[in-house]
Symmetry: C2
Subunit: 337 residues, 2 copies
């Protein structure tokens, strides 16, 4: 059994912790958190050993009547692999903590690519993380793009990717985010950082990305163009994407028009928190015009990196290859929709 610790118990951390618990070959040795909020209370209720991420704030947990198992240093010492799911930039500050204890660590996509030995997407470059000390699981959007690029590149070859990312302004619980009633080019300069970020996974890929932010919280939506090198039909591309395990091609008969119905579909299916771990690609949108493939996909920013984190744990621990790990992760999460 792999002993896994999770530092940072917010949107990503709590989901990764649950996913680790679900794996047959992993044990969650604990989670670390800075503040005794509603998520901390839930961690304890779940029976997850809870560690204070900042020693000076440990007494706040006492004041809130939330039991601590100790300080984060103890968790890092006990874990075979740490998953750092702290906010962007904090991961880099935690690097020395993991190194002091010789514990390999996974970081999230908000950290710089040069913090780590390799950036990671299970479908695209699992083997690059074998035995690494520092691995960065790329962001939700980069994960969503990488899952699309990998099979298309293998099957047809890609001349260029052009993607417009219509991003949700904030997550449902991020009550301090915007915009309200606006459509913001964000960043206003082109390309957005997403294209270069995808190139941390596919160094030779030509890709230009444009980002916007809108008043929605549920999912990002990507408007995708891929100029293919080889000939393809829309039906062939659809079959290819349907054959992947983490690209869900939404059947037309479901009559799903956006993220609201997608999330409701996931909740109805019993998915924890209504999570959509897969790229959700509208089947009727898959179109080929000459060399140009087009499609729309929705990306659940809170959860699509969760199975990737689980796979990255096995990659750094060298306990499975890509296919074995992805299958184990998917089965443990009961991923079919």
């Amino acid at each position: 059994m792999l002993s896994v610790g999770v530092n940072g118990y917010g949107t990503i951390g709590k989901r990764v912790a649950d996913a680790v618990v679900a794996q047959p070959d992993m044990e969650l040795v604990g989670v670390a958190k800075t503040r005794p909020n509603y998520e901390a209370e839930r961690a304890v209720a779940n029976g997850y050993p809870l560690y204070a991420a900042i020693e000076e704030r440990a007494e706040k947990f006492d004041a809130a009547d939330i039991d601590l198992a100790g300080l984060v240093e103890e968790l890092v010492e006990e874990a075979d692999v740490m998953v750092d799911a702290t906010p962007s930039g904090i991961g880099a500050e935690n690097k020395s903590l993991y190194e002091e204890h010789d514990t390999p660590a996974l970081y999230q996509g908000g950290e710089d690519a040069d913090l780590v030995d390799t950036s990671f997407n299970a479908r695209a470059n699992f083997a690059d993380a074998a035995g690494a000390d520092r691995v960065r699981v790329v962001s939700c959007n980069t994960t969503g793009l990488s899952r699309l690029v990998a099979p298309l590149e293998e099957e047809y070859g890609i001349e260029k990717v052009r993607a417009t990312l219509v991003r949700r302004g904030g997550d449902p619980a991020q009550t301090d985010r915007g915009p309200i009633n606006d459509i913001l080019p964000n960043p206003r300069t082109i390309p957005s950082h997403h294209g270069p970020d995808v190139q941390t996974i596919f160094p030779d890929l030509a890709i230009d990305t444009l980002g916007l932010k809108v008043p929605a919280t549920l999912m990002h939506t990507h408007s995708i163009n891929v100029s293919l090198t080889g000939d393809a039909t829309a039906d062939e591309v659809r079959e290819l994407l349907e054959s992947q395990t983490r690209t869900f091609v939404i059947p037309e008969h479901l009559d799903i028009d956006g993220a609201g119905k997608l999330k409701e579909f996931a909740l109805d299916a019993g998915r924890p928190r209504g999570d959509l771990w897969e790229n959700c690609i509208w089947g009727e949108s898959i179109s080929v015009e000459g060399d140009d493939l087009y499609l729309f996909q929705a990306i659940h920013q809170e959860s699509d990196v969760v199975p990737e984190n689980v796979d990255a744990i096995r990659a750094v621990a060298e306990t499975a290859d890509a296919d074995e790990s992805i299958e184990t992760t998917n089965d443990a999460l009961d991923m079919g929709l």
Copy 2:
């Protein structure tokens, strides 16, 4: 003086009426409306002769104490040119009305292209409307795309346009529209109708468009890619677009991040209703990567077709050529920002 009548006094009609009144060579002989609502009351307050668009409903105006000048048939008889600004599909129903009185008519972009002799954009194909009986002023989005395509096609040649249109869900006054908190691929099939609609202006243009709808009301935002035939730099393209009169390149120092600030800027400048008649292109977004030009532009769905309608009046009446008309319209509206 050209006698102009406006049938339909809603979002577009009331703006066209005001713009006609501002022209030195036009007289507004009246406006027609189906219902005595707040806009009808304002028309009378402005001194615009108000006609009942539907005879059976004329008494409702009496009941609301709003004075009528007569029925729409009288307005059509009196006008040299009619501007039909009724809702999509109603224009086609009104065609026989205009033909019975031998009055040339302009229709809006919601009507089918085959209803008319020619679709119209002043910058792109003014001369095609010379002496026509039926002209269709293309929609806000098609107008915004055409204004961009025309100078780029002339200066560099265009291999292909790929555009993602992130559309406002409804206008500020359309209280029955959505979505709320969602990002809808709309239509979910590709291409959207906008590409073929641009081809009514540029029949040989290769263009693929993708549409979405989001919870915003102020303006549409376009994420644009144009693969150019000839070599260009971002600076050259910027200069080209700055030299056009209806493409406003937003200077970086204005610190305008979206439609909210754009509209506020227009209101502060004294623009009627805060209208933005021009394509609003973010200067810092204009980028060239290889043959690919990228940029973001915001399109004010309520007003960008207004100067185009004014120009189309002169085109069908054959009282000016494109350059003369555009200059007269712009001067009368005091268009510089």
